[in-house]
């Protein structure tokens, strides 16, 4: 235990650098996946066959490819096609695009859970598609969507470790680097696990809060 405390004091500053990148990757891809997911979901429920089909096709394509392969593609293949980006950019875009498929399905489920009578009431006072979405459907869908959205946040935090495979020196990769140079595997990976857990706990509490609020209505 004393040894672990000593190792912790020594490695913590380096690991905290990794934590910063983990947070950047998580927040960046969360933002991107939310925006893209909203776009796919809107296309899906637009009632325009071509848009709906396109969105469904994209979602299935993305769902069928492992995140890690998507990351390799962005980081190693895109430069051959003349598009090069930093590892951090590739990580955020890769995770953001991958998760947008799940976000879209979540958002769509929330939108479709709203009673059809709400849409008719909106139409009956002259609202068009967009106004109905903005004023009637989305505000109600948010309550339904928030608990699963919180779960996606937790998954993204953990999956941000996949960015390590394309050289982003986030928490997992920092840990691996320290471990392989000091052979203190137990101390290092226990520390890494505890740090992920520490970051997850506020999110877990947030999800619980969302769930409580959703069941109140």
């Amino acid at each position: 235990m004393e040894k672990f405390a000593r190792d912790a004091a020594e490695f913590l500053p380096i690991l905290l650098n990794g934590v910063a990148l983990t947070i950047i990757v998580t927040l960046g891809s969360l933002l991107l996946s939310t925006l893209l997911g909203l776009v796919w979901a809107m296309m899906r429920v637009s009632g325009v066959a071509a848009l709906s089909w396109l969105s469904a096709a994209f979602i299935n394509l993305i769902r069928g490819i492992p995140i890690i392969v998507l990351l390799f593609y962005l980081y190693f293949v895109m430069p051959d096609l003349g598009v090069s980006m930093t590892a951090l950019q590739a990580a955020i875009i890769g995770l953001g695009v991958a998760y947008s498929a799940y976000q879209a399905e979540n958002f769509r489920a929330g939108i479709e859970a709203i009673d059809k009578g709400q849409i008719e009431a909106a139409h009956s006072i002259g609202m068009g598609w967009w106004l109905t979405m903005r004023r009637v459907i989305l505000p109600q869908a948010v309550r339904i969507v928030l608990p699963p959205y919180g779960n996606v946040m937790i998954m993204m935090l953990k999956d941000s470790s996949q960015a390590s495979t394309i050289t982003v020196a986030e928490l997992a990769l920092q840990g691996k680097l320290i471990a392989s140079s000091t052979f203190k595997n137990t101390s290092v990976f226990t520390l890494v696990a505890l740090m992920y857990l520490t970051m997850s706990i506020p999110l877990i509490l947030l999800v619980r809060h969302f769930e409580k609020r959703a069941s109140h209505r």
Binding site: D115, G117, Q118, E120, A121, H123, S124, I125, G126, M127, G128, L131, R135, V136, P139, Q140, R217
Partner: protein, 243 residues
Amino acid sequence: MIELKDVHKSFGRNEVLKGISASVEKAEVVCIIGPSGSGKSTILRCINGLESYDRGDIRVEGTRVARDGASITAIRTQVSMVFQRFNLFPHRTALENVIEGPVFVKKEPRAQAVERGRALLAQVGLADKADAHPPQLSGGQQQRVAIARALAMQPKAILFDEPTSALDPELVGEVLAVMRKLADDGMTMVVVTHEMGFAREVADRVLFIDGGIIVEQGPAKGLLNQPQHPRTQDFLRRVLHPL
């Protein structure tokens, strides 16, 4: 003001409207009665374009109702609708429900819409419930808010789709009283209803619909007291004397 000519409508292979022709004059109250599944509600929903129709012609003040047409928004702001299940927006207060259309569809200044919204809530007897959310209100109160919401659009006519069918019996009266007041004030109303008492006392005309056609129509008292067609007689007997 509202004119239907030979309107046909099918859901899949089931033809629910088989040639409906009818008209509603300004300030007239027309009740549509008939067995469930006869197409009563579908007629209302076609008039404001919530449902499309396959054949025939529906016009509101001369403008053809076409669900995908640019005119549909204009028609919906002129012909409001009150639903069986109220369909209030649960995430907004009573007052916000009422001003939603004026502020966001008609772009009225908010202060003006709020002032009128409060007056409308007072008109339906709910001045003290302006800040309540729909789930906190009784069915009768919710339906009166829905009527205020319809009125807020300053419509030329209001369509009522079985407005009291989802209510507990003791709450029916408060809604019918508000509707009766509207009728007395000269609002054009088309009411699908099972409330024969309301039809007899408030309606100018009654249409009896069965199997997608208008079986019989005429002045309310005449039709309800001395129905001519055997199907009308049979229906009224069963509604008025269920035992």
